[in-house]
């Protein structure tokens, strides 16, 4: 099929135009409906995907900046406009709500009706929870409960144990040092390695690693001696206990996000359920497929067995979520074993050819990729800076941006992890959950709408912690069973006004956290009680714990400064996935102890560390900068071999 035939096929479905060459809406390169012609601007590769079969499992390998969302959006629109069945539909699954909203908008462009319920556009999680795990999970676990509502309550992996003493009912019953208790919500099962992992904060270790830790082993050794039985407390015994702990967690109706995937797999093990869902959704399109964990891929495999056709759209080179068991080798194997055909998008519309080449060399991609953005600086599209001090190099970057007329707001400094990010940021990020009331008061006083919205959220968060009636964070934790969202906002407003009006409560000048908590506690609780007594049946403040969080007692209360600084923003690489910037500076740590943050590891790892650097290096349109510690000649050669030029003042 030549390209105009493909375009015509699309225009017939999407625009009701029988011949795109004589499109009545298109005149002087302008489409009356969409400004530019959405169909004509598609490349041949994109058209091939959009018109690809909806009953052949397909992997669309979409390189960075290839207009993947644009293609997926039009594909969704094309399939939905062509859909003829009332009882079944297409599911388009993304990883974030924003991405889902984007796809939804694209579909809405061409699909004039309200999207009918047989189609689903939303996040992968909401699909798995809503159609599978929450729906049928009670048939596997949690079935003994006599409640009418057998929903699982989702517990965050990183939930604060101290505020949730009930979690002590769900610990692994195995001898371990007191500080190392394992809670059910910290455990997740990685299907790729068939092993349990323990998450705490940003750290994840496997159960075996945990078991082998010296202090754990020491404790086991002592117990074995004491009980004179060297066969006690083997690893398999720990495994059994972990399973018992998890099952009781599930049977009581709790689950983590990862558990829900496992529960979904259990549900889909039932052939009837699997077939019905597949019949309901014969076509499932998945965005950012490289972020699918092995368990999530198993869900898709089961749906495929049930009869669904799966389209995976993504870029293996951008797989940077190994900590949640999303591994490119697992995806590759999945694609090979389940008879997927592969299509490609190899045109990068974001970056210049130079930037594309540099990142391609870094990642070792053998297929050709085209950079379609016009170069502004030619050879100097990719620069490396050498630094003594990380903060100076950012200064340097800013001055260079001013020199070459790039708006600072359109540029970004990237770093691997959040500690390094905090080090580089001039404006410190604060952990609001520590002192929600203090921050809420400070933000409320600014009278700035966006700050005040944050203030509402913090005070709402605090009240939820005390009332234990959960609500949605985007509704300021409104206990929706008890009052309406707008009433709740008014209550929060009154509380904040009263808190700000009280001079003792709202005075933060030169006092420590502990003295504030001491003097303000009673007043704060009183104000909150006054405004919430009609909402909650019992007095929530009577049992409220409101004291200085550990480790902050003697610190001075931090005053939030809100001057909008004109500096370049600093962000972690993971947070900028899928984003575009005019200019990017990727900052390496000083030395190799920074692991994934250190530039030599970017080059040598060839695994996830390299992919993380690849993701960062494919963000800029016109200017890619690496900021590296002082290099020797050999190191310089390595960097220049990638195609970087040295920054000259």
């Amino acid at each position: 099929m030549i390209i105009t035939e493909k375009q015509t096929k699309l225009s017939k479905t999407l625009c009701n135009v029988d011949d795109i060459a004589h499109c009545p809406y298109f005149k002087d390169d302008i489409c009356k409906r969409f400004h530019t012609c959405k169909i004509r601007e598609k490349t041949d590769e994109q058209l091939n995907y959009i018109l690809s079969s909806n009953n052949q499992c397909t992997y669309l390998e979409a390189c960075a900046g290839s207009g993947k969302t644009e293609a997926l959006g039009m594909k969704s629109a094309y399939e939905i406009c062509n859909w003829r069945h009332k009882d079944s539909g297409t599911a388009v699954l993304t990883f974030t709500n924003e991405a889902a909203a984007t796809i939804f908008d694209r579909v809405a462009l061409f699909y004039p009706h309200q999207l009918s319920y047989n189609h689903f556009i939303g996040t992968f999680t909401s699909f798995v929870h809503g159609y599978i795990a929450q729906k049928f999970g009670s048939a596997v676990y949690h079935k003994t409960n006599t409640n009418k509502d057998l929903s699982f309550r989702i517990i965050d992996t990183n939930i604060n144990i101290y505020d949730n003493q009930w979690l002590n009912n769900y610990t692994v019953n195995f001898p371990m040092p007191p500080a190392k208790k394992i809670y059910a919500n910290q455990l997740s099962f990685h299907l790729s390695t068939k092993s349990w992992h323990i998450h705490s904060g940003e750290r994840t270790i496997s159960l075996l690693e945990f078991y082998k830790q010296p202090d754990v082993q020491q404790l086991i050794k002592e117990l074995r001696q004491k009980k004179k039985n060297s066969g006690l407390f083997q690893f398999n015994y720990l495994l059994d206990k972990v399973l018992i702990c998890k099952k009781s967690f599930w049977n009581d109706g709790f689950a983590t996000f990862e558990d829900m995937n496992f529960i979904a797999v259990c549900c889909l093990g039932n052939e009837t359920i699997r077939n019905k869902i597949a019949k309901r959704f014969p076509l499932i399109l998945i965005d950012e497929c490289q972020d699918l964990s092995a368990m999530e891929l198993r869900i898709l495999k089961l749906l495929q067995q049930g009869g669904s056709c799966i389209h995976l759209i993504g870029d293996l080179n951008q797989a940077i979520y190994s900590f949640k068991d999303a591994l490119p080798e697992v995806l590759t194997k999945h694609i090979q074993e389940n008879s997927f055909v592969t299509l490609r998008l190899s045109n990068n519309f974001r970056s210049t050819q130079k930037i594309v080449d540099v990142s391609r060399t870094l990642q070792g991609i053998s297929t050709p990729l085209t950079g379609n953005e016009n170069s502004l600086f030619n050879e100097n599209d990719a620069l490396y800076f050498e630094y003594d001090n990380e903060c100076d190099v950012i200064q340097c970057f800013e001055e260079y941006l001013k020199k070459v007329n790039i708006d600072l707001g359109a540029a970004i400094v990237l770093t691997r992890n959040s500690n390094h990010k905090n080090l580089l940021s001039t404006s410190k990020s604060v952990d609001y959950s520590k002192h929600p009331v203090i921050y809420a008061i400070q933000l409320w006083r600014t009278r700035n709408p966006s700050n005040q919205m944050k203030a509402l959220q913090f005070i709402g968060y605090q009240i939820q912690k005390w009332s234990k009636v959960s609500g949605r964070s985007d509704r300021y934790y409104c206990p929706s069973e008890l009052c309406t969202a707008y009433q709740w906002r008014l209550i929060l407003r009154d509380i904040l006004n009263d808190l700000c009006a009280d001079t003792t409560v709202s005075n933060f000048e030169n006092i420590t956290y502990s003295s504030w908590y001491q003097s303000a506690k009673k007043l704060v609780l009183e104000i909150i009680y006054n405004h919430t007594q009609n909402v909650f049946k019992n007095d929530i403040t009577s049992t409220a714990s409101f004291r200085t969080p550990n480790g902050t007692a003697n610190l001075r209360i931090e005053i939030i400064t809100l001057c909008e600084c004109s500096n370049v923003k600093v962000q972690t690489i993971h947070a900028t996935k899928g984003c575009s910037y005019e200019a990017v500076m990727l900052v390496s740590t000083q030395n190799a102890s920074g692991k994934a943050g250190y530039w030599e590891n970017w080059l040598n790892d060839k695994q996830e560390i390299t992919r993380i650097a690849y993701v960062a290096s494919t963000r800029p349109k016109h200017l890619l900068c690496w900021a590296l510690p002082q290099l020797n000649d050999e190191q310089r050669k390595k960097v220049e071999a990638l195609g970087f030029c040295k920054y000259q003042e």
Partner: protein
């Protein structure tokens, strides 16, 4: 699929969980007033989102205790759907559980900040956190026929007109031609091309001139005169039904306005209109629930029977429709198969529903017997609060009179002993005396009790069976003797008495009349004498003698002989005539045999006779 169970909590009279089993096809809900028939129909309307159910909810629908000290803050209504087809499991996937039975839940609470406004939350399956597709409601049609107080208004034109609703459905998306013909007509008026409408045109230009004169061309407006607004809805709502009192009339001149028709026929015209709606869905795969409240209103019995037979055949021809009818018409109840009946009663703040299809009678004879003999008179038992089953006309006529004596004495005794008094007649207590015409009332008793191999749920109404000892034709036992019982019901006595709601009472000596006679020779003889066909003769002499004895006997044999004499001569005049005469002679001195006292009190709410 069909709704197999409806559950309510916190709604109307149902504070505790009420579960109502329903079946495929036709369901007839019946029971006394206030038992929850309308509650069930309205709950179904709410949960199925019937069009007008939204406006019908109000604060009083939340359960409130009788003394008004307690009020429920939440209404919960749940419907279970069974036997979904393969396609339906896909359509209603988000309503299904893992066994692919569908569950629909609705909870309603009053908006705290806006009293009178309600929050409704619908969810499906077993989990509120799972996805619930509201659009699946598009695949459920709920048609509601309210109890007809005023069929005429429903049939006349206007927004709420049933006719308009039907026409809208029929037209679907093809409304253009109708609108066009009206538009053309309007255009002809306004253009007045051939001068046909010059009067209208003149008035129009006169008004326009006056407007211009008064307001000037800057501030003025202009008007047009036309037939009516020409939107589809307006046209449809203006179509009226007219009628002619016999079938087959086509001359449009002869049709008249509905206001001149009888209430009952207007009701039927209305129902016919709604049934035409069913024709539209006949071929579609949409699950349809038809709710009909008290269709008997204004219909004479023959029409009621015809109507319910039609419903039954309709439910058989529409495989995807479920019809739920509430009624208190014994005519309706007695003209369908008993399997279709669902008996309702209110007990301890909940609705107790007994589905007859749920009952296993143990043998086919019983089912056939009930279906054959549950006539209008007998089906009144389904609307009673208590029942006394009797063998014949004599009991049926006399028990209500005897009951007055029993209740009077009971209340006197109750008051003396600090117990609550009850009503002083069977009518007041809502108790029916049902004449079975024979001793076959074991069949009917199975509706209330399990014995002789029957099982399943029982209608929770106190039911007393009153039967004769039948020691043998020629045996006339003496007072206080215990003759052998040859009544076949005796073999079920223990089983029946073990049930919660039933008791069987067997006369201690022979038959109802004989046993009455033993204790009341004077009264019976007086009654018999008053209706004896001859003015002289041995019988009259003998009766006078008995009356003269004034109930005083030297030995039991003499008493039994007199009783026998009366008994044998009652047969001559006929039990019915005799009973009427006796009923006129019953006064407070009449001695009611103990087994009748027991039966009366049992039927009046399960009271056990405990004094002498």
């Amino acid at each position: 699929m069909y709704i197999s169970k409806l559950s309510l909590k916190g709604y109307k009279n149902s504070h505790n969980l009420s579960e109502i089993p329903l079946q495929r096809g036709l369901n007839i809900l019946l029971g006394e007033n206030g038992c929850g028939k309308t509650t069930i129909i309205n709950a179904l309307r709410l949960i199925l989102r019937e069009n007008e159910s939204y406006s019908s909810l109000n604060t009083d629908d939340f359960y409130c205790s009788l003394d008004k000290s307690y009020k429920d803050s939440e209404i919960e209504i749940d419907a279970d759907f069974s036997e979904l087809t393969d396609n339906e499991t896909i359509t209603f996937l988000t309503w299904c559980d893992a066994n692919f039975n569908a569950h629909l839940h609705l909870s309603i609470s009053e908006n705290i900040s806006r009293p009178g406004y309600f929050k409704r939350k619908y969810w499906g399956g077993n989990s509120t956190a799972s996805i619930f597709e509201e659009d699946a409601f598009d695949r459920v049609e709920c048609i509601y026929l309210p109890p007809l107080r005023d069929a005429e208004s429903k049939l006349s034109n206007g927004k709420r007109s049933r006719l308009a609703l039907l026409l809208k459905k029929q037209y679907g998306n093809n409304a253009d031609s109708l609108v066009d013909s009206f538009r053309n007509f309007n255009n002809r008026i306004t253009e007045n091309a051939d001068g046909q409408y010059k009067e209208i045109d003149m008035i129009k230009s006169t008004i326009n001139t006056k407007i211009k004169d008064a307001l000037g061309s800057q501030l003025g407006q202009s008007i047009n005169l036309q037939f009516s607004e020409i939107t589809f809805n307006k046209i449809i709502e203006n179509i009226r039904m007219v009628f002619f009192p016999h079938s087959g009339e086509t001359n449009i001149e002869k049709f008249r306005d509905l206001a001149t028709n009888s209430l009952g026929y207007n009701n039927l015209l209305y129902i016919a209109t709604v049934f035409s709606e069913l024709e539209l869905i006949k071929d579609s795969n949409i699950f349809t629930v038809l709710l009909i409240e008290e269709p008997e209103a204004h219909l004479h019995p023959q029409l009621q029977i015809k109507f319910v037979k039609y419903l039954q055949s309709l439910s058989e021809s529409l495989s995807n429709a479920q019809i739920i009818v509430s009624t208190h018409s014994p005519v309706l109840a007695s003209s369908v198969n008993i399997n279709r009946l669902i008996h309702l009663t209110e007990k301890s703040d909940r609705i107790v529903a007994t589905a007859m299809y749920d009952k296993i009678f143990g043998n086919t004879v019983t089912l056939d017997y009930i279906n054959r003999w549950l006539d209008v008179t007998k089906s009144t038992m389904l609307f009673s609060r208590g029942i006394i089953l009797v063998e014949g006309i004599a009991e049926a006529m006399l028990i209500p009179h005897l009951a007055e004596i029993v209740l009077k004495n009971h209340n006197k005794y109750a008051v003396e002993n600090g117990k609550p008094a009850i009503g002083d007649s069977l009518d007041e207590m809502g108790v029916s005396v049902i004449n079975i015409n024979g001793i076959n009332f074991m069949h009917f008793m199975k509706l209330f009790a399990n014995f002789d191999g029957s099982s399943g749920s029982n209608i929770p109404i106190y039911c007393a069976g009153l039967t004769d000892r039948d020691p043998g034709k020629d045996i006339f036992p003496t007072k206080d003797s215990t003759p052998t019982c040859h009544n076949p019901m005796k073999s079920y006595l223990d089983e029946i008495n073990q049930n919660e709601y039933t008791k069987l009472y067997i006369s201690p000596l022979k038959t109802f009349e004989y046993d009455l006679g033993i204790d009341n020779t004077v009264a019976l003889a007086t009654a018999l004498k008053s209706i004896w066909p001859k003015k002289t003769g041995t019988v009259l002499t003998k009766l006078t003698k008995i009356i003269d004895k004034n109930g005083e006997y030297e030995n039991d044999e003499d008493l039994s002989k007199d009783s026998q004499f009366i008994y044998e001569h009652i047969e001559v005049v006929g039990k019915g005539i005799f009973s009427y005469a006796l009923s006129q002679n019953i006064n407070d001195n009449f001695t009611v045999p103990r087994y009748i006292k027991e039966a009366v009190l049992w039927a009046c709410g399960g009271i056990l006779y405990d004094h002498n």
